[in-house]
Amino acid sequence: MSEGRSRSERWAPQQVWRRIWSVIALPLISILLALLVGAIVIIASQLVLPGAQFNLLLPLTAYSALLQGAFGSFDAIVDTLVATAPLVLGGLSVGFAFKAGLFNIGAQGQFLLGALGSVAVGIALAGSSPLVAISLALLAGLLAGAAWGFIPGFLKAVSGAHEVVVTIMLNYVARYVIGAVVGGPLRQQGRSEAITPDVGNAGLPILIGNSGHAGIVLALVAVVFIAWLLFRTTLGFEIRTVGANPDAARYAGMRPRVLTILTMSLAGGLAGLAGAVVVLGVQHNMTPSFVSTVGFDSIAVALLGRTNPVGIVFAALLFGALRAGATLMQIEAGIPVELIDVLQATILLFLVANPVLRRVFRLRGVKTGIETTETITKTYGGETPVA
């Protein structure tokens, strides 16, 4: 990524547009193609469903309901924003790690641990003043996620263990830790089903409409912070250098091991914050079966947003809108919400297949869809431990 900017340079408007196009062309085409594939899936699914009336226009009904559900009313827009906020934080987590050449597939586990940490502290402080309760609960989420990110970072730095393998395993561990803690120590007494008590005063304040909680603002603050960290500080320069060329970073006197641990911890913290925002802003409690796709969707968000903090905001908004609008789509068109997974996966597939897209659409001078492919495809065996 070219992050250089110059105040002395002036761009002609035409150049600006060409530049913008070069960045958004592939994501845009991927999204449109994915919608087309989704339409085919909807039509085809009618053929296999017994008794269903065949309706060639069903995709249109479904997509318009999806749009309606995501942006059709003030409440719908707020719901979209609520779904977007954790995706922004999760996307930042994965995208930030990509900048350092690390593939944080463990956003899911860090997200769950963050949720657990914030709910535990939230319950304990449910009766304290909101300011104290909220800030400490958020901090707990951040730290719990960071701890879950520290583990793979540390293991990679000392032994060269690949972060992909370690984080995937930690995702499972996180699942069962939640089940054990929420079903055990944190379980509310006197309830038949396993559920934690309410977080009370640690719940995030509602700022917009019925559900627009403060986590939305928090996510935007995180975007600004991460962008500032990456592009304005020397630490960010070190992180980007290690990601772009670890050998050159080593020669330049940077310490790849330390930076690996630091980056993974910070990435974990961001994902943990996403978990905190969901439990403190929406659910206010937790069940042992607390699941969410945020952690995994974050990977797609980071890739669609080209690991750039601003790009991640737009990608998260798209995925948030899909999630928020899915319910109405299910009601009005009878299309199960799982279609959203199909759309998301297809978008990703097209992005990864960018050489094909470039050829078919004759995209010249357009940047590659996923510049982080190298990070993704680094194999376990081929990896040399950072020295």
Partner: protein, 541 residues
């Protein structure tokens, strides 16, 4: 205005001898009016090239002059916008590499396209299998043909040898055999001597001459002027996509060719003058270094480099030079031995501590250690200084200072770029190297480590970098130069150390050193000394 439909309308006026007039001596290859644009540049601007049967035709030009584009067009990898290609007087359209091979055009790339774990025969057969029936290879027949081909062109080759165990010179012969096996009539060699010792170069020239006598046409791409003069029958010089001259070796010399190539007068040998020796800047004692696979490749090296001198290490690539250099700059751990800088022990120092002690490094692989290609020029220019004032204020980057310095260095070191915000990866090789040189030279230095500083660069860039190095030496910097180009070592060094299999086998005075002797030491480590009787002084300290 010409009709757009007319093919190659631009060069109809250039038609001189028609094909019927000279049917016997029709050129084996003729490229007429080849034009190819890439965004922003005219890579080939109406280039005419004519190669006769049995001719060794040298194509000379700086990096980025358009040699590669022209050869890619010949090989079917790129389509010209204008112009025609004629083979034996017949106009042809070359659809792709396989079409080119079918028409007898073959290319030997600078980086060999061989599978190291395959045998010679397997490599040669790859893609052109000689079959005995529908399923099985006819190995016997293939072996027979390979041995016979080798003999015809003056060398014995074992078809069963693993390619990975062969020397670079022999690997190149395998590449050539591969082409001959496919009945190549036109052979394009891209910088074939870049990786060879002088002796190996002579041997390969012998092979090429036999090929030419046998009627093959050879296009020899190079930027080494004396080699071109030695081997070529005719020389075409291109500059900025245009043919700027055609010469016969008998009518020209190195200065004339260099001027044609660069477009201005070039001083080929930098006047190095006298060196003013100072105290010992770098002292190495009994150093052992391991390579990535854990085997010891630097085996007890003792070396002193004094301030104000250039010590050149000559050696065939892969004799431990890279590992030695990486240990000196702190990128590689040295388990045994001692490295000290101006009397200070630096054996276990970090790259940053070594850098701060005034050591600069121009790495052999600039894409690996030298640059971050995806970063703008400005960031690359402060890669080792980014954390220091004025480039950093506390934890913040100071973009103004970074940019100001970048602008200054770009001017000072003649880096050709539209701006300091352009990514380093978009620059040409020579400009990338200037970028590394700009960053590393622009400080007060006590030791400068140059590892293959001009590999792959053109005459103009080499001249510039050599001048800068001499200037640094005259300013009192100790310079350690490693190069596989013996000429470079001979030209610049005040003293020459020959490295062979991890050891320094000889040290010679740079002014009196004999090229053949050094070449022999590089190739054999001095074991042939008894036979040659060339050297009396043994391995020196």
């Amino acid at each position: 205005m010409t009709e757009p439909g007319l093919p190659a309308a631009g060069n109809t006026s250039m038609d001189e001898p028609t094909i019927e007039e000279a049917p016997v001596r029709a050129p084996a290859l003729e490229m007429r009016g080849i034009t190819k644009h890439y965004p922003g540049v005219v890579a080939n601007n109406h280039i005419d090239l004519e190669v006769r049967p049995g001719e060794i035709h040298a194509l000379l030009g700086e990096n980025g002059a358009g040699k590669t584009t022209l050869m890619n067009i010949l090989y079917g990898l790129a389509r010209p916008e204008e112009g025609t290609i004629l083979l034996d007087g017949q106009e042809v359209t070359i659809a792709g590499p396989s079409d080119a091979i079918a028409r007898g055009i073959n290319m030997v790339h600078q980086h060999f396209m061989l599978v190291p774990v395959f045998t010679v025969a397997e490599n040669i057969l790859l893609g052109e299998e000689t079959m005995a029936g529908p399923i099985f290879l006819d190995r016997k027949e293939a072996h027979r043909r390979i041995v016979e081909l080798g003999r015809r062109f003056g060398f014995e080759i074992d078809p069963e040898a693993k390619v990975g165990s062969l020397s670079v010179g022999w690997q190149q012969r395998v590449e050539i055999l591969k082409a001959l096996y496919r009945d190549a009539r036109i052979l394009v060699l891209d910088e074939p001597t870049a990786v060879l010792t002088p002796q190996e170069t002579e041997e390969i020239f012998g092979v090429l001459r036999r090929l030419a006598q046998d009627g093959h046409s050879i296009v020899f791409i190079s930027h080494k002027l004396y080699e071109v003069l030695e081997i070529a029958d005719r020389i075409t010089v291109i500059r900025r996509g245009k043919v700027v001259g055609e010469r016969l070796p008998s009518q020209t010399d190195e200065d004339d060719l260099a001027e044609l190539m660069v477009g201005r007068e070039v001083q080929l040998t930098v006047d190095r003058g006298e060196s003013k020796l100072g105290e010992v800047a770098l002292e190495i004692r009994g150093l052992e270094v391991k390579d990535d696979r854990g085997s010891i490749v630097v085996k007890g090296v003792d070396l002193d480099v004094r301030s104000g001198e250039i010590l050149g290490i000559a050696g065939v690539a892969g004799n431990g030079q890279d590992e030695l250099v990486e240990a000196i700059v702190g990128l590689r751990h040295a388990p045994v031995g001692r490295i000290s800088l101006r009397g200070r022990d630096m054996t276990k120092a970090t790259p940053r501590a070594i850098n701060e002690a005034g050591v600069a490094y121009v790495p052999a692989d600039r894409h690996r250690f030298g640059l971050v290609l995806s970063f703008p020029l400005a960031d690359n220019l402060v890669l080792t200084d980014y954390y220091r004032r004025p480039y950093a204020r506390g934890i913040l980057r100071n973009d103004e200072a970074i940019e100001a310095t970048a602008e200054e260095r770009i001017r000072q070191y003649d880096i050709r770029t539209p701006s300091a915000t352009v990514r380093a990866g978009t620059l040409s090789g020579g400009n990338q190297q200037n970028l590394v040189v700009a960053r590393e030279f622009a400080r007060d230095l006590s030791l400068l480590v140059l590892d293959q500083p001009t590999r792959g660069l053109d005459v103009g860039s080499i001249e510039f970098i050599h001048r800068q190095a001499i200037a640094k030496r005259d300013a009192g910097t100790a310079i350690l130069l490693v190069s596989a180009e013996l000429d470079e070592v001979l030209e610049l060094s005040d003293r020459i150390a020959v490295m062979y299999r991890g050891r320094i086998v000889a040290i010679r005075d740079g002014r009196t050193a004999d090229k053949n002797e050094i070449g022999l030491l590089m190739a054999t480590g001095g074991q042939a000394r008894a036979a040659g009787g060339a050297a009396e002084s043994g391995p020196a300290a």
